[in-house]
Amino acid sequence: MKLPNCTWFLLVLLAAAAPAAPVRRLGAAEPSNLCYNGSFDSTNAPLDGWTTDYTWQGNSHYMGNHTRISQQPEHAGHKRVLHMAVSAETKVESRAIPIELGSRYRCELELAGNVDPHIYFTGYKWEPGVHPYANPHLGDLRRIYKSEFRNHKVSGLSGGWRRVSFEFPLENLSELAMKSLKEVRFVTVFIIAVDGSAGDLFVDNVKVTKLSAPPAAPARKTTRKESSR
């Protein structure tokens, strides 16, 4: 039986491509996004995985929190974004992300709007008495850690979408920080808008990745500076 010419050509092409395929897998590994529904386009629900309703906390300030947060189909060229209509202190958190102790994590996201939010990782452990389960509700977790916030306060967003990133934990952890950190089992991306007048905040493309190298710097003990006298 005689094969057509095109068939021979395809076979040669396949043979030539075979060794190239694994090389491409190894060399171009894309870090996976640990943040569920970071692009706010889940088919389950637009804000699936994000905690916006804090009525379970019983805190009067956050009873209407969920009414101030929604998905907006489009904003400044981005489709399907999270919208926070800030009229009082408003916060939103991603689904709890299990972390590997000793590793560092980076969060990248895009922001737009006219309020200055604080964004940081919040560390949780299980609430005493709760049996562990997958994708826990935040009400079953106890907050015990906050990553550095001072540099995560984002200002001047009025110029359009802005990409920001921050990492967790600090490079040189103190003994006290280490002691607290080792209890942490989950982190969330915590976005809160507090001060400033009422306004809008838009969030899109939230991405959390595990950095390859865990922090290796020695622990630093906080000491008080001696008097200059």
């Binding site: 015990i144 906050k146 990553s147 001072r150 001060d195 906080t222 008080r224 500076k225 200059s228 006298r229």
Partner: protein, 1197 residues
């Protein structure tokens, strides 16, 4: 021969042949049976069949026999036909050919042909002459017989060798129902106890007697019910005589079976041992019916497990139950034995017994089988104790001034009620049991306690130098005889003359003064010596330090004697000297003694401490020396005033009695009245004499007072008070009483004038004292202000030097040294002054706890450069009083929820000073407090790096502007308003070094004055320099579970970090003790009483009147208030009783002071609570620890 005859003959021959076969079968069958018997018998010799085996074997033998019989019968019963017999015969006799059969067959055919007929007719001529006997198989028969004979021989042959054993074996095989035992060499003759039932827990001896072949072993197989069977080897048979083997079971607790095995003794039998329980008490109920007069309730006890409390005279009803029927039960007490009666069943017995003494009792039970059981009764006998007499006053050996009446305050208590209490006058040397003259009697009426203060109103001869009394108390116990009574020790009052009293007092005072001077001198010398040693610290020999320590011990001992001196020679400084005695005087001894053993680096510090303490001791003693002189004078003046007052009262009484008589017709004054007036006249003489003698004594200390006393004596003489009294006495004796009244009135008026003059002088003295005190306080204030000014100026100078560009190091160093010295002195001085405390209000407290406080850590990157901020970066913010907060402080609205908060990244550089509200401006009801949540979030981070100088500069002032709750967000910082919401976070800065109020959860260690609201939590690193952490309210309950590591928790005296109430021990809080002030409440009343007792104590102390009992009374009143709060009735009763006793004693103490009476013996109540320190006795390395321990104990007193 016809055919029929032939046939008959052939049939006969057939029967003969069958008989031959049957005989052979029989022989062989029997042989088989015999062989079976032989074989089984042989096996029995070896195996010794049991019953079942024997039956089985027998069945086999019987089976063989049956088979043999059947086989024989079968052969015998076999029927051969004529032709068959003919065939057998033709076979045995070949010469017959076939003729016999042919003949029979042809003859049977009736239609035979001629040939056949001819053949038949020819007959069988050979038949006749045949010897049929030859047909028998003789060989077979012989073999069968041989087999039978062989089997028989085989059966008999072992008998020749084994004898009876073989016969027994054969017999056991053929007759399985016989009990014949197999023949053995060894026999078990007997076994004891065989089957038996023994007492559970008792030992048991198992014995067997055997006889048999030497060397055969004897074993015991024991199979207890509760464990695996065991075999014990008991030994071997030593000879042919019967021999006994035993085995002892030490305790038989469960049933068991056992058997002995001896050599080849066959079939050793199993025996059973069963146990029976010992006789025991199943239940023992005791019902106690106390006698009626005790008013105690009947009690029921489980006498097997409980102590039976039996008040004296009770009836004890015992009901005993046993596990076995009893034959007898008796209660044995000593040698007496009282039987109890059987109840409803033989296992239930009961009896009633009177319990009048505490002889131990036991129940002895005897069962029908001889078992006995004993049970000791756990009786707690409560005897009706004799009444307890407590003499509250006088203490020691009182010396009464002239005319002072003996006063006895006492409390008599009895456990079940008093019948009678009496005071008897006795002679001073009377025996303990001797009866005296009853001078006063009280009916007890069954009361549990009687407290009385009795004064002897009878006039006693002035020549009596001693009056002695005894208190006799009888209770309502019906069991004692007439002599059953409690008697107190003899209470002796010395009644010397006024002159003698004055002399004795002078002697005592002189001795005390000399002792005090000695102590001061000794302390001065030792201080100088210690200073010398301190200067030469390295070269000073250890022995000299020890000498210094010993000298301090001596000083302490002498001080103790002084403190116990009944004349209270230290005056109103007694309390402060006592404090020094308990504190520095005890502390300095181990410090000095342990100094040579201390590390070189620590010696300088220890020496400095020792010198400091010695200086303080010397200062206090010197002050006490001054107080001592004043004390003596004031006590004398008090005594004179008291004497004058008593004379006025008595003269007034005499006058009233005289007037009363004058109104009666023909009434005359009796001898007692006349003697009373005479005695008063003599008292006036004593008073004058006393005034003169006290005047001369007071000259050295207070000339003004000496002159006054002299003037009083002169006035008394010039106005002829004594003369008036003598005239009155004469008039009473001579005529109608009305004539005496003017003289008595005149004498009374003159006495009152004298008293008024004396009071005026005393009041002036007091005013002068108070003025001096105020002046001293003002001076102290000025000094403090001056110190503050110096400090401020020094700091300004240092800042000025620091600001110079060209820094002169020398100048800076010098200034620093000066400043350090100054700061040290200031610290000493300032620590004594609780500045700012006045601004804190009395907080309300809520026993409301935040059950769960958890910590959130926040990462912080400190703002670059902020760690280098200095004191110059501190900005100040002064705030005026904000009246708008006052309204909010009174009410707590709905709780405000917390918002998100973060930590600061720069240290606090703001110093806030706020104008505080005056205490009067604060809400009367205190700060309003809202409810707390059940859990709270604390926020912490790494401490910011901070310049210490700046940190001190930025310390905020004390604030008493507060709000019940506030909206907290943004950064965690200290502000200008304190919140009571317990929402604050620990943050990442150390707290300011100040007293802080408000409610808080656990945070960073520091000084706080407010309430801790956390039920648990972690205290983080904070201000290390904390003197104390205390709550205002010592009565607050609760306890915090502190989880922090290496944190100091210095709070004491109540509050949630140390439960309980602090009255004496620990710290009572920053302000005065907070008691309930609710009008009409029991607690409020107690608090009021305690305050009044305190106030009276303070007043008495100012007058140099010893009234330690008042302080004790206040203490006990407070304790009883606490008992009310706790609902502890037993404690309440006890504390009230003690408070009452203390008040009685206080009254007696003050009465003594008023009359100038005193004790000759040391005051026992002054230092009786002191825990004598033992640090000097401890090894050197532990002295500090032991000293701290004793210090803590003593400070609690």
């Amino acid at each position: 021969m016809n055919v029929h005859a032939l046939r008959r003959q052939l049939q006969a021959a057939g029967r003969r042949i069958a008989g031959w076969q049957a005989r052979v079968n029989l022989c062989l069958g029997l042989a088989a049976v015999l062989l079976g018997v032989w074989l089984f018998s042989l096996l029995d010799l070896c195996l010794r069949y049991g019953r079942i085996s024997r039956v089985a074997v027998w069945l086999v033998v019987m089976g063989l026999l049956g088979a043999a019989a059947w086989w024989t019968a079968r052969a015998l019963g076999r029927h051969f036909g004529a032709q068959a017999v003919a065939a057998m015969i033709e076979k045995a006799f070949p010469q017959l050919d076939n003729r016999l059969i042919n003949y029979l067959q042809f003859a049977a055919d009736p239609d035979a042909d001629a040939f056949k007929q001819a053949y038949v007719s020819h007959g069988v001529p050979e038949w006749q002459g045949l010897n049929l006997g030859a047909m028998r198989d003789r060989r077979l028969h012989r073999r069968a017989l041989l087999a039978l004979a062989g089997a028989l021989a085989l059966c008999l042959l072992p008998g020749a060798f084994l004898g009876q054993a073989w016969a027994i074996a054969v017999w056991r095989v053929v007759n399985p129902f016989t009990d014949t035992r197999p023949a053995t060499l060894t026999h078990i003759l007997s076994v004891t106890p065989g089957d038996a039932t023994v007492l559970q827990g008792s030992p048991l001896v198992l014995t067997c007697t055997v006889q048999g072949r030497r060397g055969h072993p004897v074993h015991l197989d024991l199979d207890p019910a509760d464990r695996e069977p065991t075999t014990y080897a008991l030994g071997r048979i030593a000879g042919s005589d019967p021999q006994t083997f035993t085995y002892r079971l030490p305790r038989v607790n469960t049933g068991a079976r056992y058997r002995f095995r001896a050599g080849d003794a066959a079939f050793p039998a199993w025996y059973r041992v069963d146990t029976r329980p010992p006789l025991a008490f199943v239940g023992l109920d005791a019902a106690v019916a106390p006698p009626g007069y005790t008013r105690l309730k009947p009690g029921r006890f489980d006498a097997l497990t409980q102590d039976v409390v039996v008040p004296q005279g009770s009836e004890l009803d015992l009901q005993a139950r046993f596990n076995l029927p009893l034959q007898a039960l008796a209660l044995v007490r000593g040698k007496a034995e009282q039987p109890l009666a059987q109840g409803e069943a033989p296992t239930a017995w009961r009896g009633k017994l009177p319990m009048t003494d505490e002889t131990p009792a036991r129940l002895v039970a005897a069962a029908a089988n001889g078992d006995r059981a004993e049970q000791a009764l756990r009786l707690t006998f409560l005897p009706d104790r004799l009444p307890e007499i407590q003499v509250l006053a006088p203490e020691g050996r009182p010396v009464l001034t002239a005319g002072a009446a003996p006063l006895i305050a006492f409390t008599v208590s009895d456990d079940y009620g008093l019948q009678e209490v009496a005071i008897e006058q006795v002679s001073g040397d009377s025996a303990a049991e001797a009866d005296g003259r009853v001078v006063q009697r009280w009916e007890g009426g069954g009361a549990g306690e009687l407290t009385q203060t009795w004064t002897d109103e009878e006039a006693h001869s002035r020549t009596n130098s001693m009056l002695a009394y005894r208190i006799v108390a009888r209770d309502n116990c019906p069991f004692g005889d007439a002599s059953r009574a409690a008697r107190s020790a003899v209470i002796v009052f010395a009644t010397p003359t006024a002159k003698q009293v004055s002399q004795q007092r002078n002697e005592l005072e002189k001795a005390a003064h000399v002792a005090l001077a000695q102590v001061i001198e000794l302390q001065q010398r030792n201080l100088n010596k210690t200073r010398a040693l301190q200067e030469n610290l390295e070269a000073a020999p250890a022995a000299q330090w020890q000498e210094a320590a010993q000298c301090q011990e001596r000083i302490r001992g002498m001080t103790k004697t002084l403190l116990a001196n009944p004349l209270n020679p230290l005056g109103n400084l007694t309390a402060s000297v006592k404090k020094v005695y308990l504190g520095e005087m005890a502390d300095v001894i181990p410090v000095l003694g342990g100094l040579p053993d201390a590390a070189a680096a620590e010696r300088a510090g220890r020496a400095e401490r020792a010198v400091g303490m010695e200086e303080k001791i010397l200062r206090q003693l010197t002050l006490a020396d001054v107080a001592s002189a004043k004390s003596g004078i004031q006590q004398r003046v008090s005594a004179l005033a008291g004497m004058l007052g008593r004379m006025i009262r008595e003269e007034d009484t005499v006058r009233k009695q005289t007037q009363s008589l004058a109104e009666q017709l023909n009434a005359r004054a009796g001898k007692p009245l006349i003697e009373r007036q005479d005695n008063l006249a003599l008292d006036v003489t004593d008073f004058v004499s006393l005034c003169r003698s006290e005047s001369s004594a007071a000259t050295a200390g207070d000339e003004k007072l000496a002159a006054l006393l002299l003037a009083l004596a002169d006035q008394c003489e010039q106005q002829k008070v004594r003369g008036d009294m003598m005239m009155a006495s004469e008039k009473l004796e001579q005529g109608p009483p009305a004539a005496a009244v003017p003289h008595e009135s005149e004498a009374l008026r003159k006495l009152q004038e004298l008293l008024a003059r004396l009071d005026e002088i005393q009041a002036q003295e007091k005013r002068e004292q108070e003025e001096a005190l105020l002046e001293a306080l003002e001076e102290a204030k000025k000094r403090i202000a001056k110190l503050e000014d110096i400090q401020r100026k020094a700091l300004e100078s240092m800042d000025a030097v620091a600001d110079q560009k060209d820094k002169n190091n020398k100048e800076t160093d010098k200034l620093e040294e000066e400043y350090e010295e100054l700061e040290k002195n200031l610290k000493e001085a300032m620590l004594q002054i609780p500045t700012d405390l006045n601004v804190f209000m009395e907080l309300n407290v809520a026993n409301d706890l935040v059950e769960d406080v958890f910590t959130v850590f926040e990462e912080i990157r400190q703002a670059p450069g902020s760690e280098n901020m200095g004191a110059g970066d501190v900005t100040e913010r002064a705030l005026a009083k904000r009246e708008e907060y006052l309204a909010g402080m009174q009410e707590a609205r709905e709780r405000i929820d917390a918002l998100e908060q973060w930590l600061a990244d720069k240290p606090d550089s703001m110093k806030i000073t706020a104008e505080p509200f005056d205490k009067e401006e604060m809400p009367k009801a205190g700060m309003a407090l809202g409810a707390l949540t059940t859990e709270a979030e604390d926020l912490i981070g790494d401490l910011l790096q901070k310049n210490e100088e700046m940190a001190e500069q930025a310390d905020d002032g004390a604030i008493n502007t507060g709000v019940p709750d506030t909206l907290a967000n943004a950064e965690v910082k200290e502000g200008d308003v304190s919140s009571f919401a317990a929402q604050g976070k620990s943050g990442n800065e150390t707290p300011d070094h100040k007293e802080q109020d408000g409610r808080s959860n656990v945070g960073r260690q520091g000084m706080a004055d407010g309430e801790t609201a956390a039920g648990s939590g972690t205290i983080s690193e904070g201000d290390k320099n904390i003197e104390a952490r205390r709550t205002q309210e010592p009565t607050q309950s609760g306890q915090v579970d502190v989880e922090g590591e290496d944190v100091q928790t210095k709070a004491t005296g109540g509050g949630k970090l140390g439960t309980g109430k602090a009255d004496e021990a620990g710290m009572a809080g920053g302000v005065e003790r907070m008691d309930s002030m609710e009008a009409g409440s029991a607690e409020g009343l107690e608090a009021l009483m305690a305050q009044q007792a305190d106030a009276l104590y303070a007043k008495a102390s100012m007058q140099n009147v010893r009234a330690d009992a008042l302080k004790n009374a206040a203490h006990h009143i407070r304790q009883s208030a606490d008992a009310i709060a706790r609902g502890n009735i037993a404690q309440l009763k006890e504390h009230r009783k003690m408070a009452l006793a203390a008040l009685k004693k206080a009254k007696a103490q003050m009465d003594e002071a008023a009359t100038g009476s005193f004790n000759l013996e040391p005051n026992p109540s002054m230092l009786d609570d002191v825990v004598e320190g033992g640090p000097e006795l401890a090894p050197a390395k532990y002295r500090d620890q032991v000293a701290e321990y004793y210090k803590a104990l003593s400070s609690g007193l």
